[in-house]
Structures are given as C-alpha cells and as structure tokens.
C-alpha cells in the first residue's frame, strides 16, 4: 500500500470523524453543514483550478481535471476545526470578530500542511501563478511566502459563503 492511498484514506476517515463529532456535539444541521461547506470549497477549487495542480493522487480521488474531492475534504476538515476552536474558546464574541480568528486559525493550521503537500509533490503551482510570486520563501522551507496571504484570502471568501448559505437553508 503506497503512502498516497494511506493519506487519502486518512483524510476520508478524519472527515467522517469530524462529521460524527459534529453530530455528537449536537452541532446545528451537521450533515447539511458538511455538505454546504464541501460545496463552498469545491466551487472555489473549480474556479481557481488553473492556478494549481493536485498531483499523485489515485484516479478515483479526482472529480474534474486535477480538482480532487479528497483535497476538498481536507479543506472542509480544516475549516471545521477552525470553527470549532474559535467557537469553543470565544463563544460570546460577535461574528465579525470571530471571522478574523477563523482566518488566523485557518492560516496557522493550513500553512504547514501546504508546505508538506508542496514538498511531497502533491501540490504544485502553475507557471502563471509562480510568475506573480515574490520569490521570498517561508523560513526553513521551500514554500512561497504568498501562502500566508493566500490562505486567509480563500477563507475570507469561503467562510461568508458558507455562513450565509447556512443561514438560508
């Protein structure tokens, strides 16, 4: 069994675990929440697909070109962990303030994962994207510093989309 399949199965297992925890913790509409967040991330991934490549995963893990539902699940897990940590630690904060903490948690969790995916060759950036990069790397890694700016940008658009849809469904 290759390490890739272990990674894929690991992500799926963690996603199921997260969904189960949401259900157990009496999270509001856990299955719908999971589906809405999955769709939110997937839409974003399809739109931004020409900018990156998800390599090396098994054929069944891809939906469209190199958009992978396993990677989408990975994002969903990270978003829910960020929501959980912030909501648990600061339950009384206003939504506007929580938003910034969600972005901070998302960035702190995702940055090392992105660095690992890049060095493992699973993630690759397209040439049109690398051309716009400064060339500055995150210290002690070969990952571009722009990751630290891009992750909160993704969160800043996906989180409102998810939260607004959850208010409406």
């Amino acid at each position: 069994m290759s390490w890739i399949i272990l990674l894929e199965i690991g992500i799926i297992a963690i996603a199921i675990g997260v969904w189960y925890l949401l259900k157990k913790q009496k999270y509001k509409k856990p299955t719908i929440s999971f589906a809405v967040l999955f769709i939110s991330v997937l839409l974003f991934e399809i739109v931004s697909e020409p900018m990156w490549k998800n390599n090396l995963l098994d054929g069944w893990a891809y939906i469209y070109r190199d958009v992978s539902w396993v990677i989408t699940l990975g994002w969903v897990i990270i978003f829910f962990i960020s929501f959980y940590l912030v909501d648990k630690k600061w339950p009384k904060l206003s939504e506007g303030k929580k938003f910034w903490l969600y972005l901070a948690a998302l960035t702190i969790i995702t940055t090392p994962i992105e660095v690992i995916l890049l060095s493992a060759g699973i993630r690759e950036y397209s040439s049109v994207l690398t051309q716009t990069m400064s060339g500055i790397l995150i210290p002690l890694t070969s990952a571009p510093i722009e990751i630290i700016l891009t992750i909160p940008l993704i969160g800043a658009l996906v989180i409102p989309f998810y939260k607004v849809l959850m208010r409406l469904v």
Partner: protein, 169 residues
C-alpha cells in the same frame, strides 16, 4: 485616452449619488462590495490580464481598481433593483435573483471588456477552456461569473449586519 476609466468612475458616482438618499447604507454597502471584489481579483489575478488601461488605475500587477469599481457598480445596481422589485421574496430567492441578475450583466460586461481588448485570459485559463463561445465570451463564463458573484454577494450579505451593528453602537 482614459474614456473607459472616466466612464466607469462617472457611472459609479452617479448611481451612488442618485440612490444615497433612498438607501442610507449604500456607501457602506458599496465599500463592502468593493472589498469583496478586490479580494477576489487579487486572489485570481494570475488567471487574467487587464491591459491597456491608464497606469494610475493599476493597484498591483494587473489588478485594476477601475475594473473593481465596474464590477462593484454592476453588483450594487443589481442588488438595489432586486431589493426594489422583489422585496417580498424570501432570502434564498433574493440571493438567487442577485446572482442571476449580476451574472447576466456581468456576461455582457465581459463581452465589452473582451471586445475593447482590456481583458485577456492567461495561458493557464486558455488551456482549460473548451473553445465554445457565446459571442466572444467563453462558455465557461456561465459557470465562472455566477460562482464569482455568489462568493462576493455572500461576502456582502455576511458583512452588512456587522457594519450596521457597528453604526448603531
């Protein structure tokens, strides 16, 4: 010649001046829309090329605040019209009306900027396009523009209550 740039500025200011007495929060809403569009444009700037505009209208690489202003005005005009003519619709229906109306105008606007030679797609985008077109706009705009708009409109809906609450404090 800055005809395009000046036209966008004049149309945007005219709309805001005409409506600001009817809708007290229009400037705030416009500011939030502008931020949402700018975030998205910055994030996806590797995918398109905005060229031929005056140097003063560029913010970073080819991210252009006139284009951002243009998108923001399209969004606020459509949202205002939907609010005026479908005020009794449910929130989910309204969200759909926003997305549909902005997308229709957005596709026409894309046709205009492509025709004027202001917009071009990067090589990474050209690689994934099917080649099928509506006029001169790639058919993929039917997916891309509504998705882009859905993310930005959700961003506006998410931030509007927070902005209103801040004012009432």
């Amino acid at each position: 010649m800055a005809v395009f740039e000046l036209s966008v500025i004049v149309i945007s200011i005219a709309f805001l001046l005409l409506t600001h007495k009817l809708y007290k929060s229009i400037w705030k809403k416009y500011g939030i829309i502008f931020c949402g569009v700018l975030l998205f444009e910055y994030f996806t700037q590797a995918l398109w090329i905005n060229k031929g505009l005056e140097a003063w209208s560029y913010l970073y690489l080819d991210v252009n605040w006139i284009i951002t202003l243009g998108w923001s005005t399209i969004i606020i005009v459509c949202m205002t019209l939907v609010n005026a003519y479908a005020n009794n619709a449910g929130n989910l229906a309204k969200l759909l009306y926003y997305i549909i109306s902005v997308s229709i105008v957005g596709i026409i606007a894309e046709q205009v900027v492509l025709g004027l030679g202001i917009r071009e797609y990067s090589s990474a985008v050209l690689e994934v396009l099917s080649g099928t077109k509506m006029g001169i706009v790639p058919i993929e705009a039917l997916y891309y523009i509504p998705t882009f708009m859905a993310l930005v409109i959700a961003f506006v809906i998410y931030w509007m209550p927070a902005a209103a609450a801040r004012k009432s404090r």
